[in-house]
């Protein structure tokens, strides 16, 4: 099997002439039939076009033509007439279908003919900069005289005044609107008085806690607009999600006209689901996804196809980049053909990668989800996903990166050993048939709502029975009055505190404080990267190999308080992988009730994420060549949770052994989490689940086989003494600092949740368990005498109210 080094094995498949996705898909299917569990084609479609509208200003028409735009796609024309009729519009079309022209046309027209202003909101600075670059090009092409600026944290102070006064189009992000623009709206008075359009792109990213915050920022925006006597029209854009119109309407709390049919032509898209081959039949071990991804990407690039690889973690981006660079960039005198792209690079470096991709000088790019959004990198031929991104919607957004007008494209999903990935490649119908997920928000979540009423009261006093969103504000203002930040006089509530409330409210609810990576190689002191706070513990521990464009640096010292990691250039043949885990401890139980033979509780919990050490993994062979300890503060989260427990005697009677009970609890937790997420309209990442001992002595995580593995407080696998107390507990907790109050409504609906979980599992068509009920299971478990599904049902049955 290993006669030929992997690196050369597949060169016979290289297409001699630059070719299309179909040919490559065929060759791969033929050669690797056993690895491909499913191949299907999403048929392309002819473009549907419309002439440039007659009512465009002639200079704009001229500018478009000089940029090679002689006609519109049908959805662009639809968007034009919808905006001209005054409707709020939501445009939901795939990546690279010319979405931005849908809002550029009405915005520029209004700016040229009525001096109307527009506010653009993008979720990231990079997208904002792209957009401004595009606007400037069009503006130059036609000498349109429309001024567009980005306004973000990097905008220098002296430029801000000019932007406020002279910007026709201000391109910013929700965080800046929340913290810098709305609380200073009087400085923007001229801008607001003439504000005609608010463009919100990538609205599918505004979901969960983040989306709920953004919906409230939009409420505040509308409130400030009302003060200046304007009602701007909203134009929203979204990637494919299950409920685009609904989601857009929930965000702006108004009716929108949805445009969902793309008129952009696309070639056929060939999709392959790829399972790495079994390398050890005895243990059922498969080759790594990484090796397969590398092989497919290499073949595609050698065949002259522009290729994008998505990896799940920053480390994996660097590893895969290194492998591809080893093949394609071995000659340092030639310009690089392979690039990495991820968060944490300096903006300059990311811009350079984008530019080179667009210019076509780069043949392969390896990225995290950072490229899932609409960053413009031109057309690609092949997209390879190293592992399932976790949702159907994200998978299609990533595949959407590949596709040119006339040519067929290829998308390959390479399954990792993760049980969910394995389930998917074994059950392709799940993926093929599944509708994309729905985006959900809950703007009236009490604590989020209160935070934004607080910010709104700072911006403008509340008067009388004013509404905020769908709530009458008065009771909330009373709460703020008691807190001492508002003063009530007659029917007015005025801000009185010496504080700036928006600073204390983070829309993304992540702890702030990015880490900078300082290169100290041979006496230098250069900042070479930034790492966000949550990623720092798993990437910047002392001893970590931190790779940047696949150049390895070793972290020598981490200054946690100062948010700095000092690194030096190194030459090692391994990379490092952090071991991390989460445990949970109950601090205060607010309420308890019987739940069948067990009990349900809700209260305050302490969640700890710890990185106890890391593994050193050799490149190519991927053998584990050692461990290192990590000494970092725990990442702590105080929050609220609801949890269920069963007494030891009950479990002893119901299960043959403790392993079965643990597997049952893991499955039950999975089902409860699905049901609860829907029940409180949370994003899965905002509500988390955990299974552990009731006293916090141990917790359970699924091992590579999907089986429950007990781990001690140090995170190491442990076994319980036969006489040790055994009270497994399933927790659902708010993954939101301080909690966002999801646990109480969940506790109130506890009986309903258990009953719904039972029916979810019972109604599921699978045999032994699947991602739709108790979580993905291994093939071996599907036919086991007691399936994970049966075990989970057994646990839940014991919790059903009598």
């Amino acid at each position: 099997m290993n006669a030929l080094p992997d690196r050369y094995a597949s060169d016979e498949l290289v297409l001699r002439d630059p070719s299309d996705g179909r040919t490559l898909a065929q060759r791969l299917s033929k050669r690797y039939a056993a690895r491909i569990t499913c191949a299907f084609v999403v048929p392309g479609r002819e473009g549907s076009f419309a002439p440039l509208p007659d009512d465009l200003p002639p200079t704009l028409t001229h500018a478009l033509r000089s940029r090679g735009i002689d006609q519109l796609y049908s959805h662009q024309a639809e968007a034009w007439s919808a905006t001209q009729s005054g409707a709020h519009v939501a445009i939901v079309t795939p990546t690279a279908s010319g979405k931005s022209l849908c809002y550029t046309l009405p915005v520029i027209t209004a700016a040229m003919t009525q001096h109307a202003k527009a506010l653009y909101l993008f979720p990231t600075k990079a997208l904002a900069q792209d957009q401004v670059a595009e606007l400037l090009e069009l503006n130059q092409a036609g000498a349109l005289g429309v001024k567009a600026f980005t306004f973000d944290g990097d905008t220098p102070g002296d430029a801000r005044q000019a932007i406020r006064l002279h910007g026709d189009i201000v391109v910013s992000n929700p965080d800046m609107l929340h913290q810098a623009i709305l609380p200073h709206h009087t400085k923007w008075a001229q801008f607001f008085e003439n504000l005609r359009y608010v463009v919100i792109d990538e609205v599918h990213t505004y979901r969960g806690v983040f989306g709920s915050h953004v919906a409230n920022v939009i409420r505040r925006l509308k409130r400030v607009c009302a003060f200046y006597g304007v009602t701007p029209q909203f134009i929203l854009c979204s990637a494919t999600i299950g409920n685009p119109k609904e989601h857009a309407e929930a965000l702006i709390e108004d009716a929108v006209t949805a445009i969902t049919e793309s008129g952009a032509p696309t070639g056929d898209k060939h999709v392959l689901l790829w399972n790495p081959p079994v390398v050890n039949p005895d243990l059922g071990l498969r080759a790594s996804a990484r090796s397969q991804t590398n092989r497919i990407a290499r073949l595609a690039i050698k065949s002259g196809m522009k290729t994008l690889v998505f990896a799940q973690s920053r480390t994996m981006v660097e590893v895969l980049t290194k492998y591809l660079k080893d093949v394609f960039d071995s000659d340092p005198r030639k310009p690089a053909r392979i690039r990495a792209y991820r968060g944490g690079y300096l903006p300059k470096e990311r811009r350079a990668a984008e530019r080179e991709m667009r210019a076509g000088t780069i043949d392969g790019i390896v990225s995290t989800s950072a490229l899932e959004l609409g960053v413009d990198i031109g057309s690609l031929d092949v997209v390879v996903l190293n592992g399932y991104p976790g949702s159907v919607a994200a998978t299609w957004q990533r595949f959407g990166r590949a596709g040119r007008r006339q040519q067929s494209a290829l998308g390959v999903l390479v399954a990792s050993s993760d049980p969910l990935d394995q389930y998917l490649v074994r059950h392709p119908e799940f993926f093929q048939g599944a509708p994309p997920e729905h985006a959900r928000i809950q703007p009236d979540q009490p604590l989020i709502l209160l935070d934004h009423i607080r910010c709104a009261a700072f911006e403008l006093p509340f008067i009388g029975d004013e509404m905020f969103g769908t709530e009458i504000a008065a009771p909330w203002l009373d709460v703020l009055g008691e807190e001492g930040v508002l003063h009530r006089e007659g029917d007015r509530w005025e801000w009185i505190a010496d504080s700036y409330p928006a600073i204390a409210v983070s829309l993304r609810s992540v702890a702030d404080g990015n880490f900078v990576v300082v290169d100290r190689t041979s006496g230098r002191q250069t900042i070479i990267a930034e790492v966000d706070y949550t990623a720092a513990p798993v990437t910047l521990y002392e001893g970590a190999i931190h790779m940047i464009q696949s150049v390895p640096y070793q972290v020598e010292r981490l200054d946690w308080e100062g948010r700095k990691a000092y690194v030096t250039r190194t030459h090692v043949d391994y990379y490092t992988d952090a071991i991390d885990y989460t445990k949970l401890k109950v601090l205060d139980c607010f309420d308890t009730s019987n739940a069948g033979c067990g009990q349900a509780h809700h209260g305050e919990v302490h969640v700890v994420r710890r990185v106890p050490g890391y593994k050193k993994i050799r490149f190519y062979s991927h053998e584990n060549i050692g461990y290192g300890p990590v000494n970092l503060p725990d990442q702590e989260l105080h929050t609220t949770a609801v949890w269920w427990q069963l007494a030891q005697v009950v479990l002893n009677a119901a299960f043959e052994n403790r392993q079965q009970a643990l597997d049952g609890f893991l499955g039950a937790a999975y089902a409860l989490h699905i049901v609860a997420t829907v029940a409180v309209m949370a994003e899965a990442r905002d509500l988390q689940k955990s299974v552990g001992s009731g006293d916090g002595a141990w917790f359970v995580s699924a091992d590579v086989t999907g089986r429950g593995q007990i781990r001690g407080t140090d995170g190491q696998p442990a076994t319980l003494a036969p006489d040790a107390p055994f009270t497994p507990t399933v927790y659902l907790y708010d993954a939101f600092p301080g909690g966002i109050g999801q646990s109480e409504p969940l506790f109130n609906r506890r009986e309903d949740l258990v009953a719904q979980s039972v029916s979810l599992i019972e109604r599921c068509d699978c045999r032994g368990g699947c991602p739709g009920c108790v979580g993905p299971v291994l093939a071996a478990d599907e036919d086991a005498a007691t399936t994970p599904k049966a075990l989970a049902l057994r646990v839940l049955a014991l919790l059903v109210a009598l």
Binding site: A215, P443, F458, E459, L460, I472, W476, V479, P501
Partner: protein
Amino acid sequence: MSVAVDRLRLLRAQAGQVTIKKIVKPTMPANVRLLLQRHAQIKHGSGVATLSSRDRDMAGDEIAPGLRYTEVFMDWLQPPPWIDTTFARWIDPVHHGRLLHFDTETTGLAGGTGTRAFMIGAADWVDGRFRLRQLTITSMAAEVAMLRVFAGWLNEDTVLVSYNGKSYDAPLLSTRYRLARLQNPLQGLGHLDLLHPVRRRWKGEWNNCKLATAERQLLGVVREDDLPGSEAPAAWLTYLRGGSAANLRRVAQHNAQDLKSLAGILLHLATMSQT
């Protein structure tokens, strides 16, 4: 599906149209209120106590509901008719009759739309005498009246004199005029902000260039029983909530001294640039 969309649909069905009407929710559920209060306590400590004090006297006349006005004439410095303003890099001298020294006392330093002035002091020379006027609001509602009165003190010839007023007092007032939907009377006026020439001349020589330092160094002013500026917001808030006026009276004294020092520093700078 989000609650908002549910409501939206319901409404549209009810109204048979697409406009959104507001829904009135009478009260907040008790448990939500409890939750919010708990969180507020954890985050901000205990709430506000209701105050009631017998010492509620403020100087001056109530010229509008909640707006008190004081006016004092005093002999304070004899300005030359024409003030040399080359220290501020202005070429032409300014007649002293055009000068209006001003200083605000505010509810804080946070900035943005949530900070307001509760006291505006202004001083000028009228027929050779130093006139010091102060407006203080004792209710929120009186702010508009205060802004109007102050606007009446300014005309297009007025030259403002302040200490850091270009960056602080003037933008703050401009925000307040905007929020009150009034024309901003400061817009376009000449403005001598003395902080900048003081900084240019004495930065590095003194520990800092605060007004208190400048008045001590240049005018030999030593304040007694001065209420630090940082305590001004609390003084006004205490009074607003029914508490004692004692500290608010001290704020007025502090403000008056600021204005006197401002005039003193101006004349000092003007004299210096002549020599």
